[in-house]
């Protein structure tokens, strides 16, 4: 029992990200409304961002900006254990902005769909397509 608890506590970042990802995936597959699907896609993206940022953390390390980079104290030895991993931050930095851009495209498509079918409910749209 204590093993299980310590395992859960040691990896709780993964539990949170998997739970968020499941919520997003369920919304993408099962929701009928297109805007709710888009919201689900955004929750999914948030889960991935959380996952990446959480794997970059190191215990006892600080943000990846070097202290005393310039000035009289410069040119001291930098140890990798003192700073958290910068690479996931770089990837997620662009992913957030690209996420906003894809959200914009998705909403634009939803507006076009609404203009054509006068509804955002997927089953009604499919019924209208079958009628044609």
């Amino acid at each position: 029992m204590t093993d299980l608890i310590s395992m859960v506590v040691a990896k709780y970042n993964y539990w949170i990200y998997i739970t968020l990802m499941m919520i997003g995936l369920y919304a993408i597959i099962a929701k009928n409304n297109l805007v709710k699907k888009i919201v689900g896609m955004n929750i999914f993206q948030t889960a991935i961002i959380l996952f990446y940022v959480s794997i970059s953390v190191k215990k006892g390390a600080t943000i990846p900006i070097l202290e005393h980079g310039h000035g009289p104290d410069a040119h001291h030895v930098v140890h990798a254990v003192d700073y958290i991993n910068p690479l996931p931050h770089v990837l997620m930095l662009t992913a957030i902005v690209v996420g906003v851009a894809t959200l914009g495209v998705a909403l634009a498509l939803a507006i076009r769909v609404y203009n054509n079918y006068n509804t955002l409910e997927e089953d009604k749209i499919l019924a209208q397509i079958r009628e044609k």
């Binding site: 395992m7 040691a10 990896k11 709780y12 970042n13 993964y14 539990w15 998997i18 739970t19 990802m21 499941m22 995936l25 369920y26 597959i29 099962a30 959480s54 794997i55 970059s56 953390v57 190191k58 215990k59 006892g60 390390a61 943000i63 990846p64 900006i65 070097l66 202290e67 980079g69 310039h70 410069a74 930098v78 140890h79 990798a80 254990v81 700073y83 958290i84 991993n85 910068p86 690479l87 996931p88 931050h89 770089v90 930095l93 662009t94 957030i96 902005v97 690209v98 906003v100 851009a101 894809t102 914009g104 495209v105 909403l107 634009a108 498509l109 507006i111 076009r112 203009n115």
Partner: protein
């Protein structure tokens, strides 16, 4: 459909929960993600690029190609929103009855088809569903927007030494213009920043980025190897990398700024560019 979705979701979740057992523990300094490439970035960034913010250096220098195409993705997202939504048919743009409001007195006049008013700054074009913007919100936003924009410029310019850079600063700049469009109306915002200008800025941002890379190529080094700019900028190659990063960050900022406004303008008015939200 709901049952199938639930089964797929639960199966994926269960597999991931099972796989998470093999993952390195939370905040483990010896995890695989933190041991191969990132120590090189952390230890060598300062001597190779002279930029204390490692994220900025990796973003614009070590992974410059990646970021260039991310900027291209954002540019294409703006263009796609434009092509999907923008309605530029004449009859749709010019309804039969138009309304103009005299700014100083607040008098609204209605013009039938074929009539024109002499062009003057006293009248502004409004829609039939126009509601006056709230005075408190309008004044509050007018006080706030300059500081938001100043902060955005600081975030872009100081991205080498503190958290920030082109993406973040560009989004804040775009948000300030969107705040203006929300607090007044879309027509006023488009009059300040026309659609043509937004399109040009959006392309110019990507062009600055790619052009810097091409300039390095012309100066007989690799694409996006900013140390080639040392001769042009009259600095040593390491400082030239730092300056090159700043140039491409400005390009990214401009592209992101324009794309955010473009997407907002098109989506909030469904491509009609009338009142907006």
């Amino acid at each position: 459909m709901k049952i199938i979705g639930l089964i797929i979701t639960v199966t994926t979740g269960a597999l991931l929960f099972y796989a998470a057992g093999d993952f390195p523990a939370w905040s483990d300094p010896a995890s695989p993600a933190s041991t191969y490439l990132s120590p090189h970035f952390i230890e060598k960034t300062m001597e190779e690029t002279s930029v204390p913010n490692i994220v900025t250096a990796v973003l614009a220098d070590y992974r410059g190609f990646d970021t260039m195409f991310e900027t291209a993705v954002i540019f294409s997202a703006g263009v796609v929103c434009f092509f999907l939504l923008r309605i530029s048919r004449r009859e749709d743009e010019e309804p039969e009855t138009r309304y103009y409001r005299h700014v100083l007195t607040g008098v609204t006049i209605q013009l039938k088809e074929g009539h024109e008013i002499p062009p003057s700054a006293d009248f502004e074009r409004i829609d039939s569903m126009w509601t006056p913007p709230d005075l408190i919100i309008k004044t509050g936003c007018r006080l706030l927007i300059p500081f938001v924009q100043l902060f955005a410029l600081y975030v872009i310019a100081h991205g080498h030494h503190s958290p920030g850079g082109g993406f973040q600063g560009g989004v804040i700049l775009g948000a300030s213009v969107i705040l203006f469009a929300i607090s007044h109306d879309l027509r006023t915002a488009v009059r300040r920043m026309s659609e043509k200008l937004i399109g040009i800025l959006c392309a110019a941002g990507v062009l600055i980025y790619a052009g810097t890379g091409a300039l390095c190529l012309l100066l007989k080094l690799n694409f996006l190897d900013y140390s080639a700019l040392a001769g042009v900028l009259h600095v040593d190659p390491i400082t030239a990398r730092s300056h090159g990063i700043l140039i491409v960050e400005i390009g990214v900022g401009i592209a992101v700024l324009a794309t955010m406004i473009w997407i907002y303008n098109n989506i909030s008015s469904a491509g009609r560019y009338r009142q907006g939200l």
